[in-house]
């Protein structure tokens, strides 16, 4: 018999004063920030925000604020990392020292190194890496303010930065988490829900190809719950995807509309 741990992995309490609220979801199925169970946080996305990077994007999802920048394809440094048959994709997920309520050391933590790898692997299937051999594509994700679900928001943003850099892609990648909080399945967990809840399921999707590029789970869910959670997250990804497309097109649409007037 498989021994499934009942509790979620202990997540570090960053602020001792921040107590777990007694109820995360009230009797009208309303969440702490007034959202419904299957509602995303208010999301604002902007593309092409940085002048020096080849491509960039910025997201505000609830209290999350994340910047992504992309360089490349360009010559690989150090040279020995270059692959003769494809471009190498390198990714750095980093949280700014001021992104959480107690200063975080700017050195990459174990968690950040892991997330960098996970994000890279979630984005790689969307890119035609074989088109530009012997080059590298570098992705930088900088979390300016964190409030849960930053890996997903990071993927959503980085995918736009890649498109903005003009890198040929199979599809955009949209990512979103769902989870279980106070016995309810909810979409797009914020920090409190993530830490106090029973489970969370981050998922990344290429919506047009209907292909999942990231699926993780922390905590415990029954098989039925898991299926429901995945469907909920898929739905969230599709909502984010429409926002992504709008953000990517907005600059060009604005120019055109100004001329039509």
């Amino acid at each position: 018999m498989l021994n499934i741990p009942k509790r979620k992995t202990e997540k570090k309490r960053l602020n001792v004063l921040q107590k777990k609220p007694e109820k995360l979801i009230d009797k009208d199925d309303m969440r702490l920030d007034g959202r419904k169970l299957n509602e995303l946080r208010p999301t604002k996305i902007e593309v092409g925000v940085l002048g020096n990077a080849d491509g960039s994007a910025y997201i505000e999802q609830g209290k999350n604020k994340i910047l992504a920048a992309v360089y490349g394809p360009k010559e690989v440094h150090p040279r020995h990392l270059a692959r003769p048959d494809r471009a190498v994709l390198r990714c750095r997920y980093h949280m700014a020292p001021f992104s959480v309520d107690e200063r975080k050391s700017p050195a990459p933590s174990r968690r950040e190194v892991e997330l960098s790898k996970v994000i890279r692997e979630a984005l790689e299937p969307s890119i035609f890496v074989e088109y530009y051999p012997r080059t590298s594509i570098d992705i930088f994700i900088e979390v300016l303010q964190a409030d849960g679900g930053t890996r997903c928001a990071g993927i959503t943003t980085a995918s736009l930065a890649l498109a903005d850099a003009g890198i040929p892609m199979r599809d955009l990648v949209a990512a979103c988490a769902s989870g279980k909080v106070d016995g309810h399945l909810v979409l797009d967990l914020m920090d409190v829900e993530d830490k106090a809840g029973e489970a969370d399921v981050p998922l990344a999707l290429m919506p047009n190809l209907n292909a999942v590029t990231l699926l993780q789970m922390d905590g415990s869910l029954t098989i039925e719950e898991f299926e429901k959670a995945v469907n909920l997250a898929l739905d969230g990804c599709k909502q984010l995807y429409t926002l992504q497309k709008e953000a990517l097109k907005s600059k060009y649409v604005a120019v055109k509309e100004a001329l039509d007037e």
Binding site: G166, M169, L248, K256
Partner: protein, 233 residues
């Protein structure tokens, strides 16, 4: 065999463009009989071929392209040139120096030094090796004067216009000499700084509004107004 978008409609990577009998052109790909966009751009199709005119892309070298590059390194056998592409380009010393070229006696930095800007032509490129350049054609070589403007490489065809209509109009209106590098760099040299300023302005306008129609007329109008000193709104 349906088509899902009209001509000149804006699409983003992953958008399904067509199904079945169509052929995937530039900036698209075919998977399981379906054609998707792989870059943000405007859809276009001729006969059976569907392609996307990219609004954002980097320069990929192509043989016979004229490019503007910057020398980043002088080696014993030639120069390494940054041509704004995923790969650095090589310019061989034997291409510039009268043969026979002897590495011991030739002073390569006196010909092109690090930081020099050159106009060159791509003679060979196949992705497995770095592109090779030449300066042995009239009009190529070191840039001595002028202003450089950088725009997205995919918008160069728009700057040139149909049969060169756009660029010849800018030349006529501003009296500047304009050399277009296919890699997105454009050299402008005019008689006065004011002429150059006008040309730069026109180029930036083209870059910004490249995805709209009737652009040549609007640029002409803008240049005429500017020349008269009328405030353009």
């Amino acid at each position: 065999m349906p088509l899902f978008y009209e001509k000149r409609q804006l699409v983003t990577p992953g958008d399904l463009l067509a199904e079945d009998d169509y052929v995937a052109g530039d900036n698209t790909y075919k998977d399981d009989g379906k054609i998707y966009a792989s870059r943000i751009g405007l859809v276009d199709y001729e006969a059976r071929k569907v392609h996307v005119v990219a609004l954002k892309a980097f320069y990929v070298p192509y043989v016979e392209d004229t490019v503007i590059g910057k020398v980043v390194e002088v080696t014993t056998g030639g120069w390494i040139v940054d041509i704004n592409a995923p790969y650095f380009a090589m310019l061989r010393a034997s291409d510039v120096v009268d043969r026979p070229f002897k590495p011991q006696t030739s002073d390569l930095p006196s010909i092109f030094d690090v930081g020099d800007l050159i106009i060159a032509q791509v003679v060979a490129y196949d992705r497995t090796r770095d592109p090779l350049l030449t300066v042995r054609e009239p009009g190529l070589g070191k840039i001595m004067r002028g202003q450089l403007v950088e725009i997205t490489a995919t918008k160069i065809p728009r700057v040139i216009g149909r049969k060169g209509s756009m660029v010849s109009m800018i030349k006529r209106e501003t009296g500047c000499q304009i050399t277009i590098g296919q890699n997105g760099l454009i050299l402008i040299s005019g008689k006065t700084p004011e002429d150059e300023r006008l040309a730069v302005m026109a180029l930036h306008k083209i870059e910004e509004e490249s995805h709209t129609s009737g652009l040549t007329d609007r640029v002409t109008e803008m240049l005429k107004k500017e020349k008269e000193g009328v405030e353009h709104t």
